[in-house]
């Protein structure tokens, strides 16, 4: 099934930050997705030229609906169209959902540490939503590294969850600009700040890291050096094709 292109109808479009939009898609016959999976989207111009990109799914449903959040990349080819141009009622072609590795299943019982850099929050949000919607009582903790408050995705939902959910802890780190009254000075994430803001290495939590390449490499390296087993760390890189920071 995953190899076939299917028609998706755009059913919603909501700005998520200054440069991003959350797009709801309805796909006939879709039977949901696993938390953390991605889809490919194919756009075709009127002369037949087409381009394909992968986007993580932000939701984890069991029906014909899913949402993606697309961040517009400077000099992007597909993302500017999805963020600015595509309208409710338009049709797109999608393939997937795909992936069985960077996923969380409600039957997983280990505590989970999620670490997001920027738009890397998207597949992790899918896991948070799946976890909240399940009876699974395991502990979830999210560390979300952001340039500034304005760059944050799912702000209200995460605030509400961090207040009300007994099984989710949310920590923010701001690297350039912090909200008014924030206790820490904005600075690049360090190993010390990271290790102080995540679940301890014993017992080893399942760790999912998603963000730009350098962010993911650096964080994974710190965790291994701090004694987190490499086998418990799953990574996914984001941000166009390069992601130099």
């Amino acid at each position: 099934m995953t190899g076939l292109w299917r028609v998706a109808e755009v059913v919603s479009g909501v700005p998520e930050s200054e440069t991003s939009r959350t797009i709801g898609l309805r796909v006939d016959g879709l039977m949901g997705n696993l938390a953390g999976q991605h889809i490919d989207i194919r756009l075709t111009a009127d002369d037949g030229y087409s381009a394909v990109r992968s986007y993580s799914v932000a939701t984890a449903g069991t029906d014909e609906l899913l949402e993606i959040t697309v961040d517009e990349l400077p000099d992007g080819e597909v993302s500017p169209y999805l963020v600015r141009d595509v309208a409710i009622g338009d049709q797109l072609e999608i393939r997937g959902p795909v992936g069985g590795w960077f996923v969380w299943r409600p039957t997983d019982t280990n505590p989970v540490q999620l670490i997001a850099g920027g738009s890397g929050i998207v597949p992790l949000m899918s896991m948070i939503r799946a976890h909240e919607a399940s009876e699974n009582p395991s502990q979830f903790r999210l560390l979300y590294s952001l340039k500034s408050p304005k760059a944050g995705f799912y702000r209200e939902e995460l605030l509400t969850l961090s207040r009300e959910s007994p099984k989710l802890t949310v920590d923010y780190v701001y690297t350039r600009e912090a909200p008014p009254g924030w206790s820490a000075t904005p600075q690049r994430l360090t190993a010390e700040v990271l290790l102080a803001s995540i679940l301890p290495a014993d017992p080893a939590p399942d760790i999912f890291i998603c963000g730009q390449t350098v962010f993911v490499e650096t964080v994974a390296e710190w965790l291994v050096q701090a004694g987190y087993p490499a086998a418990s760390i799953k990574t996914e890189r984001f941000g166009g094709t390069g992601g130099t920071l």
Partner: protein, 197 residues
């Protein structure tokens, strides 16, 4: 032709005949792997080939470097749609490594430090189609890109070019590797868009 997205014009990368269908060209070198990069000092590294008869052919770093080294100019294609054209690698041809290997198996599983695996039919590795490489664009291969050495099978999607490669096991049947067990195609020819299973 698919559904037309009015107002979408794209960037027309795909006029380049060197790009397989659905690929676009990138100048950077993205890093994609499933977990943290392992540390493998050259002194600890080895490359082995094991046969169905239980024979094990193995090379230390030193023995490997004594083999004939060749430069490989080629294009690489990642299943996530980027292609990098005109890369140059240096390493040892798989034909050299298989010179003394007797087998009737048709398939292999590549094994990596860190636990990664990928399956590749033997005919896709021989005949000047694959290498074990340790240099990229004139520099030792960075750890993030698979250093000290990785497979290079450029005519297949790049997940087949296993980083931190440790060896090959010959197998009588095609046994799905890591990504192949997670939804990706058993073979992975970019020109046929063999992306997903």
């Amino acid at each position: 032709m698919g559904i037309i997205s009015s107002g979408f014009h794209g960037k027309r990368h795909s006029g380049n005949p060197a790009l397989p269908p659905g690929q676009y060209e990138t100048a950077s070198f993205p890093v994609l792997s499933a977990g943290p990069a392992p540390h493998i000092p050259q002194g600890d590294w080895e490359f082995f080939i094991t046969t169905e008869a239980g024979l094990r052919h193995a090379w230390s770093w030193e023995a490997f470097m004594d083999l004939p080294q060749v430069d490989i100019p080629t294009d690489i294609h990642c299943v996530t749609s980027w292609s990098k054209l005109g890369t140059t690698w240096r390493g040892v041809s798989m034909d050299t490594l298989f010179e003394d290997v007797e087998t009737s198996c048709g398939y292999t599983t590549a094994l990596s430090y860190g636990g990664y695996t990928t399956n590749i039919p033997l005919p896709d590795l021989l005949g000047g189609r694959s290498w074990v490489v340790w240099e990229f664009d004139g520099e030792p291969l960075e750890r993030a890109h698979g250093g000290p050495a990785r497979l290079l099978v450029p005519h297949l999607y790049f997940w087949k070019s296993a980083k931190w490669v440790n060896g090959l096991e010959l197998t009588p049947t095609d046994i799905p590797g890591f990504w192949e067990s997670n939804g990706y195609h058993l073979h992975g020819d970019p020109w046929r868009e063999e992306r997903y299973s």
